[in-house]
């Protein structure tokens, strides 16, 4: 009988039920969309922040003090310590290897350059040796492509990057303009006293960084090592890693932590935790966090996340109130029906239970529809803004269904309580 009453109520007034369900599913769609986007935005934005480039720098531990002004190290080549290039594949074996987006070793030196066909030596040109697009072998047999183009994405290149290990180079825009160099030209680099012109490099591209590198020649790491007479060595390693903004716990010194805390700290991708595991993996290095990048990133990530949570909260509140109002209206309107049931001997409890069941049924239908609609919207938003859709999460579905049930029940609870006090007779008389 109970089920029949419920089924009857749906069949008899499909339009009314449809409207309530529509209000519910729209409200829940808002919640789902805002919720999914908020959950996802941290990861997506962290990825976007990698356009700021490296956030970690690795230097030799026993290094002498760099004399760097405007991005140029004035130390002579024979001063200071170096790191072995053979250790580099280990970077992708650290605990947080999936969070390492890119890395590039750098070896800088001062050299003399001779554009060919030869006219005159250009004295003291900065030469930066690095990887452009280097395939690093991984322990699992695959390769990882990385290089300066990924750690410094703001470098704009006209033409193409050099091929690693080839006798090619790219030159800074300012240097190219001053010396009238074009793509396809040949240039020779030399250090110290030379008796003959070394074999030239082919210019494959002209890049502009907006920084002091615009005056430099960027060559494959192997070429720079040869010029510096330091085979297999590099001086600085830039690492770009996906991180979680540091909180108070993240800023603690790992040396002061107990075992459990240390484990928890290492298992969170804080920038300092990644730096710690890099240092463990690469012996004899000093891993520093580039604070300018890391902290600015942390602050903005936190703000945006908080902002989106607030939008979610506001959406939730509005949806809840509107849906509550809708279900309240649907109960108020059925006063005469309630009165009839009571006149036929139903207790307030039975009536309330019947109506609550109806509302819950509606909540699940509306909530489910809303979840589907909201997920679609969140996908569209994610696709449009970040080019990647947030993953549908069951957590969101659970939250939405529970919320829908709570909201409809709360919305109908007030009028139901009043309905419990109805005297059937006056209502049935139409008073």
């Amino acid at each position: 009988m109970f089920l029949r009453l419920v089924a009857d109520s749906f069949a008899r007034r499909p339009r009314r039920k449809l409207l309530t369900a529509a209000a519910l599913s729209l409200g829940m769609a808002v919640v789902t969309a805002a919720f999914s986007v908020s959950l996802d935005v941290g990861d997506r934005l962290a990825r976007e922040f990698r356009s700021l480039g490296a956030n970690l720098v690795v230097t030799p531990e026993a290094d002498s003090l760099p004399l760097e002004i405007g991005g140029v190290d004035y130390r002579p080549v024979n001063v200071g310590a170096y790191l072995p290039e053979t250790d580099l594949p280990k970077v992708k074996t650290v605990f947080w290897h999936n969070n390492i987006m890119a890395f590039a070793p750098v070896l800088e030196l001062q050299a003399r350059a001779l554009p060919l066909p030869a006219s005159q030596w250009i004295e003291s040109v900065s030469v930066v040796g690095t990887w452009a697009d280097h395939a690093v072998p991984l322990p699992d047999g695959g390769t990882f492509h990385t290089g300066i183009a990924k750690t410094n994405p703001w470098w704009q290149i006209e033409g193409a990057w050099f091929t690693d290990n080839a006798r090619e180079c790219v030159i800074g825009a300012a240097l190219a303009r001053k010396n009238n160099l074009k793509i396809g030209d040949l240039i020779s680099l030399a250090t110290g006293a030379t008796t003959r012109i070394p074999s030239p490099l082919k210019v494959t591209g002209i890049f502009s960084s907006g920084g002091p590198e615009d005056e430099a020649v960027v060559v494959p790491l192997s070429v720079a090592q040869e010029l510096a007479h330091e085979p297999g060595q590099y001086r600085k390693l830039y690492v770009s890693a996906l991180t979680k903004p540091e909180d108070d716990f993240g800023r603690r010194d790992p040396a002061t932590m107990n075992r459990e805390d240390l484990e928890r700290w290492i298992c969170t991708p804080y920038i300092s935790a990644i730096a710690y595991s890099l240092k463990e993996t690469l012996p004899g290095t000093d891993v520093r966090v580039i604070r300018r990048v890391a902290e600015g990133e942390g602050v903005i990530l936190k703000r945006v996340q908080a902002l989106l949570w607030l939008v979610t909260l506001a959406a939730l509140l509005a949806a809840a109130l509107a849906v509550g109002a809708s279900s309240a209206a649907s109960v108020i309107e059925r006063r005469s029906e309630i009165a009839l049931m009571k006149a036929l001997g139903a207790g307030s409890g039975t009536v309330g239970f019947l109506l609550a069941t109806e509302q819950l049924l509606l909540a699940f239908i509306g909530g489910g529809l809303g979840y589907a609609l909201g997920t679609l919207l969140a996908r569209a938003v994610g696709q449009k803004i970040f080019g990647a859709a947030p993953e549908a999460s069951l957590l969101v579905l659970a939250v939405v269904l529970v919320l829908a049930a709570c909201v409809t029940l709360l919305g109908s609870a007030l009028p139901l309580r009043r309905a419990a006090r109805y005297e059937p007779a006056p209502i049935l008389r139409g008073e």
Partner: protein, 396 residues
């Protein structure tokens, strides 16, 4: 005729008033739904406008984003700029205050009072010195008043490690006196704080600009002027272009790592906010509309009665639209006010500074609410087909 019209109008408003007053519970429910919609609209619009400005100021956490350099600077020539150039840089950008820091780099040899320890390092003479505090974490006490004499200095972490033989150089070097020598010129300074930024700053020692100028024997000269320009990426571009025109003898250059990264991130965040807010507003208004229609549908009896006593369908519909408009106005006025207050509080929670209420938001939210209310009363037009007799018999 005129009398009849005014009487009609009186009757019209009287019925509207009665309709509103007749059912308190319903009135409350409707106002709740409309008010909630208005509140969210107002709060989100206000936050959206404010977030733009706040985000661009958050980007300043990255430090200087524009550099003024001498023309033709290269590795060999030690070109410098006159210090007076700082005065030629406008202090106000379109979107706030521009902070300026003048820097002069000198390579000098540094020794502590203990004999034997001496290293070469880059000395950065900066003015004002206290600027460091904005850029990142500065450990230890900071000179509160930037000193013109340059007695204080800030030692980078790496430089400190090189200067000290101890494991924790901060203990040994704090308040220690350093002697800086370049050629025949000497300066002394007292270590006031240490810093670790992860950049080349860690290898340097920072002293007052005047002391650095004496050390380099370059009075009134600077190597670079670092600017922190607030604003959106396009505003910064305009500022740079204007500045380059005012300073033809220098090179004005954006720190592209930050200006470009910021531009990308700003577009993403801004787009994300716009789309999310738009979606939320659209769905919220649809949801409010559905709820309102639900409420309006129960008015069949009223419509039946009005038609039975001779109300033309158009007039009946007009009555209901008037009622909806009044409700929308009331809900909008209350809700939007609540929403603006809400956004002020929310702004405080997110950005630590209360969001400035934009008063344009208020009328926009109210008008939107009235529109939603009127639109949601429109399904009542279907009631034109209501046949009074069948309504009263309790059918349909």
């Amino acid at each position: 005729m005129a009398g009849q019209i005014s009487q009609n109008r009186q009757m019209f408003w009287r019925i509207t008033r009665r309709m509103l007053g007749a059912h308190r519970g319903r009135l409350f429910v409707v106002l709740l739904a409309l008010g909630a919609g208005a509140a969210v609209t107002a709060a989100l619009l206000n936050l959206r406008i404010d977030a733009r400005r706040r985000l661009t100021s958050e980007f300043r956490a990255f430090g200087p984003n524009v550099l003024v350099l001498p023309k033709n600077v290269s590795a060999t020539n030690g070109e410098t700029l006159p210090e007076a150039i700082a005065k030629a840089v406008p202090a106000e950008a379109s979107n706030g205050h521009v902070s300026k820091v003048a820097v002069l780099y000198v390579v000098a040899s540094i020794s502590t009072t203990r004999p034997g320890k001496s290293i070469s390092a880059v000395i950065a003479g900066t003015s004002p010195l206290a600027f460091l505090r904005i850029v990142g974490s500065v450990k230890g006490e900071h000179p509160s008043v930037p000193s013109a004499t340059g007695r204080e200095c800030v030692v980078g972490e790496n430089a400190a490690h090189q200067l000290s033989s101890e494991k924790n150089p901060e203990l040994e070097l704090d308040k220690a006196e350093l002697t800086l020598t370049s050629g025949a010129r000497r300066e002394t300074c007292e270590v006031a704080s240490f810093r670790q930024l992860g950049g080349p700053e860690d290898d340097r020692i920072e002293i007052g600009l005047r002391a650095a100028q004496r050390l380099a024997d370059l009075p009134g000269r600077i190597s670079v002027l670092e600017l922190i320009v607030p604003g959106t990426p396009s505003e910064i571009q305009t500022y740079i272009a204007n500045l380059q025109r005012t300073l033809p003898d220098a090179e004005v250059r954006p720190v592209r790592q930050f200006t470009e990264g910021e531009a990308k991130i700003y577009t993403k965040i801004s787009g994300l906010l716009t789309v999310t807010v738009a979606v939320v507003l659209l769905l919220t208004s649809l949801c409010v509309m559905a709820a309102m229609t639900n409420v309006a549908m129960e008015r069949k009896n009223d419509v039946g009665l009005m038609k039975a006593i001779g109300g033309a369908t158009r007039r009946v519909v007009r009555l209901f639209l008037a009622e909806a408009a009044v409700l929308g106005l009331a809900g909008g006025l209350l809700g939007a006010a609540a929403g603006i207050l809400l956004s002020i509080w929310l702004g405080k929670q997110v950005f630590g500074v209360a969001a400035e209420p934009r008063f344009i938001v208020y009328p926009v939210a109210v008008v939107l609410t009235v529109l939603v209310a009127i639109l949601s009363a429109f399904p009542l037009r279907r009631l034109a087909s209501v046949r009074p007799a069948s309504v009263f018999r309790g059918e349909a």
